[in-house]
């Protein structure tokens, strides 16, 4: 066969494969959106769920998902940032770093349901935190930490060593260079990574079923004192999230409009995750322009 013909066949084959991947994604998204979007309404997005009658919404679940996400990010981001800075800027190639890296790799490949059950045994039962937002946030942290660490580490590694040399040559310490030169240059890419991982965390269900719980008590959105049990901010209350809600009503939902609620909730979940994905890149580019004043 001529090289040219072979090249054409290979190119066509690769195009076809990429096309199939894109098609699968497109088909899935449109299936979920077409089924779900008609059920969306302001009422659906804001009202609490109903267990036995039609007309319930996902307002509480939606709020829980965001609140858990923010808490999980607040806990995991500083840890991941520290670990990534250590691994990329300070760690020498030795036995200890090898262990840390392997640990992160293993942690990232743990099935999320295992993380959830571990969280249940340790935080819910042993530490007596109960089914709570806090337990859920810690479980999500375990789930999120390795991926976020890896993502931040990659962002830091993308900053050329020339910048580090420039810092040392000007008599800046390594820490000064990291803090004022490397991190600002890496911020856009770090933000992109954080938002992408937020999308992943937002859709996580298995790690939360046994930690944040499967019930969503009614919340009083007029009460923002985190110590009150009906306050949305109370971290010790059980909090079913959107993803857990979808799983739950599909396995044991008995409301008459269960299919509509499930389709609508799935659409909301997908739309939020898509928003995260699209905004991640946009935000990154914008920040880069702003920070480098170019």
């Amino acid at each position: 066969m001529k090289a040219k013909t072979a090249d054409k066949i290979a190119t066509g084959f690769i195009y076809a494969i990429s096309g199939i991947v894109a098609l699968i994604l497109f088909a899935m998204l449109s299936f979920i959106l077409v089924r779900g979007v008609p059920h969306l309404s302001w009422h659906f997005l804001t009202s609490p769920a109903r267990a036995f009658e039609a007309g319930g919404g996902v307002g509480v679940q939606l709020f829980n998902s965001f609140y858990l996400l923010i808490l999980a990010m607040v806990i995991s981001f500083p840890i991941a940032l520290g670990a990534a800075i250590y691994l990329n800027e300070y760690a020498k190639k030795n036995y200890f770093t090898a262990i840390v890296r392997t640990a992160i790799e293993i942690l990232s490949s743990l099935p999320s349901v295992v993380v959830g059950l571990f969280g249940f045994l340790l935080f819910v039962v042993q530490f007596k935190l109960g089914f709570s937002i806090l337990s859920g946030a810690i479980a999500l942290t375990l789930f999120n930490l390795p991926l976020l660490t890896r993502s931040i580490e990659t962002s830091l590694a993308q900053i050329p060593d020339l910048q580090r040399e420039a810092g040392s040559a000007l008599g800046l310490s390594r820490w000064e260079t990291v803090l004022h030169v490397i991190l600002p240059a890496a911020v856009p890419s770090i933000v992109t990574g954080v938002v992408l991982s937020a999308g992943r965390v937002f859709g996580e269900a298995a790690a939360l079923i046994y930690t944040a719980g499967q019930s969503a008590p009614a919340l009083n959105f007029g009460d923002w004192n985190p110590f009150n049990i009906s306050s949305p901010l109370n971290p010790m209350r059980p909090a079913e999230t959107l993803a857990v809600h979808i799983w739950k009503i599909n396995s044991e939902g008995i409301m008459p409009d269960v299919n509509a609620v499930s389709a609508g909730a799935s659409a909301v979940l997908i739309i939020v995750v898509l928003l995260f994905n699209f905004s991640a890149r946009k935000l990154g580019t914008k920040l880069y322009k702003k920070l480098t004043s170019s």
Binding site: L162, A166, S168, A169, G171, V181, L291, S293
Partner: protein, 280 residues
């Protein structure tokens, strides 16, 4: 396969009867003021001895070129002088600067590097504005008024011959500068710290000929106030700008002399081979 047209000449053909194996200019005997010198310096990367040249002296307010083939040890010497090699190499021996051995543990390397600045092969401005690139390292250590900083920015950019091109856009990103401009900004950034000695590691090899010439002019201007040590692969550059030239080969200085002597009447045959392009 051997090429029948290629005739291998034995090295002895090049060596004159009276040629010494190496020749080092004796600076002390001629009463020159020494800016920095090394004693018993040895640098190794792992088990690999990269530099075995012990004693080198660099005269103050002169430009000294370090030339030699890749891997000859010239960059190793340069990077050892302000201890940029600390993390990657083992540096033994003394480096004397102002009567102090700066190659010891209790030296504050960060402070020392403010006296012995360095510019690298590829321009490496920070992802900050032109103004911040110059002031950043200063403001990390001391308190300066806006007026003082403005003045330092202007002076150092003028010294680096960049002021006229950027004076109206000091708040623009340094990443938008051309290669030659960026390299001169980096030089200005190093000068802002008012160093004694400026080390340059092939500062114009990544630049086009015009930018390269501009950098050379800048260096010649700077020589009145700074001791400059420059590694270069460009023979013409070494010949044009430097007062002294040291030729390195396999981790040793083969010949160190006034530049005009090196390029017109080298004493060692190997130097002659290198500068006339027979190897390297």
């Amino acid at each position: 396969m051997t090429n029948p047209n290629f005739e291998f000449k034995p090295a002895s053909d090049f060596i004159r009867e009276d040629a010494p194996e190496r020749y080092i200019y004796n600076m002390a005997s001629d009463k020159h003021e020494i800016a920095i010198s090394t004693h018993d310096l040895q640098v190794s990367y792992g088990d690999n001895l990269a530099l075995s040249e012990g004693d080198l002296e660099f005269e103050r307010y002169k430009i000294t070129s370090l030339i030699g083939a890749s891997g000859s040890g010239k960059s190793t010497v340069l990077r050892s002088l302000n201890r940029m090699n600390d993390d990657v190499a083992t540096v033994n021996g003394q480096i004397m600067y102002r009567g102090v051995d700066i190659n010891t543990k209790n030296i504050d390397v960060y402070e020392m590097r403010r006296h012995i600045g360095m510019v690298f092969q590829r321009p490496n401005p920070f992802a900050k504005s032109i103004y911040d690139n110059i002031t950043f390292a200063l403001t990390q250590r001391g308190n300066y008024t806006k007026e003082q900083l403005d003045e330092i920015v202007e002076t150092s950019l003028k010294q680096a011959a960049l002021w006229d091109q950027v004076k109206d856009e000091l708040n623009k990103s340094a990443l938008a500068l051309s290669g030659g401009q960026a390299q001169r900004l980096v030089i200005a950034r190093a000068l802002a710290l008012k160093p004694d000695i400026l080390l340059l590691d092939e500062p114009s090899s990544a630049l086009d000929p015009i930018s390269s010439a501009q950098v050379e002019d800048t260096l010649i201007e700077l020589k009145n106030q700074y001791t400059i040590i420059i590694v270069t692969h460009n023979m013409q550059q070494a010949a044009r700008i430097s007062d002294y030239t040291a030729f390195f080969h396999l981790g040793k200085v083969i010949e160190y002399d006034l530049t005009r002597k090196i390029f017109t009447r080298p004493k060692v045959a190997l130097t002659n081979d290198y500068i006339s392009g027979n190897f390297g």
